[in-house]
């Protein structure tokens, strides 16, 4: 914009108008070569700069150019269809994607949710999920609507009496047996859920360990996990990475199941070598006695514990609640 200011520090509209080449103030003496993205109130000037003018006075040239361009943009905005409201007028910005500036997405694309084992199986067999169950259900016995879940659920099968079966054994409580079965079912389901969670986390992290928390504390763990995964991936070709070219500046190819050889080195100092050999021997001999001490103590402790346990549970058992 033009920056002529009067001595009072206030910009007069008339001053600007007189200074500008066109008295109307919004016409610009140049071809409109701008590319508009009106929805974002943006315009791009792709035309090249006039080198001669630019070299004469850089600051002035850029100022004038941007003033002209802003004027063009504002003119364009005012030419848009206008909607009048109480507070004034609103310009209706165009909503076409063609003129929209492509900008990168802030977040990564959402990935497909991984299937649980059952979902994968159902998809394979074409089993469809039933519609959502209603929350309230009609209870025939109580003649009222009840929740379809929970302790007081509708149509709850209440076993006050159980019919004896031929397979029942004497002394076995069918009620506690049913309870036990239910508990087992719940535990089994818990195990399945855990397994699904682990599997999906493994998949989503592309095998980068089982760390799912990407917080600061886990950063080093994640880093080494990624390194390990990368190393495994590098030797996971048909030739175990034998014929793969190394990248520029890449460290030596990782090898599988190759232990670092320790104990090599100085070949000539026999005295030192024998000393370290004696250490190895000491370790071999001492290990035996150490293990035996542990074993003996453990055996003793285990025996004592067993005796205590037997003493504790040798009492007659309490009668079970019926």
């Amino acid at each position: 914009m033009s920056t002529s200011t009067t001595s009072t520090g206030v910009v007069n509209a008339s001053d600007i108008l007189e200074n500008s080449r066109y008295s109307s103030g919004h016409l610009v003496d140049k071809d409109d070569t701008l590319k508009y993205d009106l929805k974002n109130l943006t315009a791009y000037d792709y035309s090249s700069i006039n080198k001669v003018e630019f070299k004469e006075n850089e600051e002035e040239y850029l100022k004038n150019l941007s003033r002209d361009n802003v004027q063009l943009l504002v003119t364009k905005l005012f030419s848009l269809p206008i909607k009048a409201i109480e507070e004034g007028a609103l310009a209706l910005l165009p909503n076409d994607f063609a003129s929209l500036t492509p900008t990168p997405r802030e977040k990564e694309l959402p990935s497909a949710k991984s299937h649980t084992r059952w979902e994968a199986f159902a998809a394979l067999k074409g089993i469809k999920k039933k519609g959502k169950k209603a929350r309230m259900e009609w209870d025939e016995h109580y003649q009222e609507y009840r929740q379809s879940y929970g302790a007081n659920r509708a149509n709850k099968h209440e076993d006050y009496i159980m019919e004896a079966k031929e397979s029942d054994k004497v002394g076995e409580d069918p009620f506690s047996k049913a309870e036990e079965e239910k508990r087992e079912k719940v535990n089994k389901q818990k195990k399945r859920e855990n397994r699904n969670l682990e599997e999906s986390s493994m998949r989503s992290n592309a095998g980068i360990g089982k760390v799912k928390d990407f917080g600061k504390d886990n950063r080093s763990q994640l880093k080494s996990d990624i390194g390990n995964t990368f190393n495994v991936a590098k030797v996971s070709t048909a030739s175990m990475g034998k014929f793969d070219r190394l990248m520029k500046d890449e460290a030596v190819k990782p090898q599988r199941n190759v232990k670092k050889q320790r104990g090599l080195g100085d070949d000539s100092n026999i005295a030192n070598e024998n000393k370290s050999n004696m250490k190895v021997l000491d370790r071999i001999f001492n290990k035996e006695s150490n293990i035996n001490v542990d074993k003996a103590t453990n055996q003793f402790i285990a025996q004592e514990q067993k005796a205590n346990y037997n003493k504790k549970f040798d009492r007659p058992q309490k009668r079970q609640k019926k």
Partner: protein
Amino acid sequence: MRKLTDEETKVFFEKIIKYVGKNITLMVERKDEPHCFRVQKNKVYYISEDIMRKAQNIPRDSLASLGTCFGKFTKSGKFKLQITCLEYLAQYAKVPIIFISILSTLLLIYDNIVYTNQFNSSKQYKVWVKPQSEMSWMYGNNLLKAGLGRITEDTPQNQGVVLYSMNDIPIGFGVTAKSTGECRKLDPTALVVYHICDVGEYLRDEDTLF
């Protein structure tokens, strides 16, 4: 020719200990002349420092053999003894136990029950073969009860033993199939010592031994 790695040293020593027990320390720290173990093309050699230093001038590819060959490492990292080490096994199996740490001795006295087994490794066990079975053993067969002349008292099962002829000439080494106690009740055709190596191999495997 190179030193043994830590892993190799452990495997190698554990094998030798089966036959000579704690006397292996006498082999590592020799009073007369310093000796060392060296690997050359998977084979382990026991050599004096003097010869080792001279051999260092020879490139690995050209070095055929040096010192006494004790055996070789398999591809999977196990160690196999060869008959050429019999000289040392026999020698150190004869020496009485010298090296027992004071601590272990005290413990042995105070707590006989727990600590009796641990000294298997510190004892040396020997078997003497009757003259009529010597040849059979030297052809590579296992030793039967019929050929058993004498055996060290309290030899446990699966223990490495050095075999001698009745006039104390070492003729090989093996692993006991039965303990001394069990041997007494066995019939003459039962196995007593499994064959590992015998002096006949000097003739049979002459070209690969050294």
